[in-house]
């Protein structure tokens, strides 16, 4: 009887110890070479890359690139409700709780595209709050990073130029920012390099000119309940804006 009790106690303690060891590796809060701040919003991810040189920091949305084999620290915050940052193939999840910033570390061992999704019920479009983590070789990562720090590329065609003018004059600029133009809204995802991202609307649609137009014309048909309002544009404006945004690589 006593022997069984001792054996049971030992088994429980050993399992607990193993579990604790695993926990420490995952949830450690030491600094890492690459530091990203992820801020959860209702139904999209704001991603801020931090850099010791402030001018090298930048903001993007819904897509994270990391170099392979380098530890990455992700600082987690939320502006509204509780979300949860989870990329199953890379690490366990951690909640983004308003008023309680936290952090998580991971290292991508292999290059690839990893899909993540919000894992804490956060309202109407919790189901469609996905994100992509793209692990790539150091050189590719550095090139991507330089591209993101730069302001928007010059519009290549007349249509795109007209699109930029329409974008700034329309409600778009009240919520979205495109660095290098007068559009400086901070309420919605940053769009400076939206054309370079693989998905739109937090992992819901693959990026293409057509999908950009579809999203602008009918956001509530794709993600009912999103905070993006229905913006009335005529067909010329829509065509030019979608051409412009698709070109923001």
């Amino acid at each position: 009887m006593a022997g069984l009790t001792v054996a049971t106690g030992v088994v429980v303690l050993v399992l607990t110890g193993l579990s604790y060891a695993g926990q420490r590796r995952l949830l450690g809060e030491e600094a890492a070479p690459v530091t990203i701040r992820v801020i959860g919003h209702q139904w999209w991810w704001e991603v801020q890359y931090e850099d010791p040189q402030p001018s090298r920091g930048f903001t993007t949305a819904n897509e994270i690139h990391v170099p392979v084999g380098v530890p990455v620290q992700v600082k987690l915050e939320s502006t509204d409700v509780i979300h949860s940052f989870w990329v199953p193939s890379l690490m366990g999840k951690q909640d983004l709780i308003p008023g309680r910033p936290s952090a998580i570390r991971f290292t991508a061992e292999r290059p690839g595209v990893y899909r993540g999704q919000c894992a804490e019920f956060c309202g109407m479009q919790h189901a469609k709050m996905g994100l992509l983590v793209i692990a790539e070789e150091q050189a590719d990562f550095a090139r991507w990073r330089d591209g993101q720090v730069a302001p928007r590329p010059e519009p290549a065609s007349d249509e795109a130029r007209a699109g930029e003018a329409a974008f700034v004059a329309a409600p778009c600029s009240m919520c979205h920012q495109v660095r290098g133009t007068a559009a400086a809204g901070r309420n919605g995802p940053e769009l400076t390099h939206v054309g370079s991202r693989r998905t739109l609307a937090a992992g819901t649609l693959p990026t293409s000119r057509g999908n950009l137009a579809a999203w602008i014309v009918d956001p509530h048909g794709i993600k009912p309940g999103v905070n993006m309002p229905l913006v009335k544009l005529d067909s010329d404006q829509l065509n030019s804006i979608s051409a412009y945004l698709a070109g923001l690589k």
Partner: protein, 187 residues
Amino acid sequence: MTRRIFRLALAVLALSACQREDRTARPSPVGLESREEVALVVLSPGESQPTVRTSGKAKEFEGNAYHLSQGKKLFTWFNCSGCHAQGGGGMGPALIDDRWIYGGSIENIVQTIREGRPNGMPSFRGRIPDDQIWELAAYVRAMSGNAPSSAAPSRSDSMHPHPAENRTSPSPPVSGGIVPPSGQMPQ
């Protein structure tokens, strides 16, 4: 019998909630700016009040909890606080009192946001979609207590700059040029 009456009363109470709880996830894409023919002053020749024709769109927004909460979000997002602070006013007039220079009905507020006003109120026509202007106007009305308390937003999930809108006692709007009750000396 008593159980049946109880259930009936509950149903009646709840039916009245329909307008408060409506949530249109997918607004109609067709529709232009609603026509609101409002007067900015109370003066009109003769004995009758100025002629006012409204579109009736107010019904959809005024007592609706979802629209009021969206309006509150937009008030922060579009930086109305930059001039109006959190309703207490600064460069712009206060919004939580009963003094309305250009009229305090929801249609007047909608027109104010759309057209802008002299001395600093920008025009947001074409910059904020029409439904969102209505949401903002409904929320502005709530700031002075003129929204039903069951639908009005409660305390913010952030710093608490003014009493929650659902606990603000109503201050019925008084048009510009007339001293409102809040501005009168005690008798």
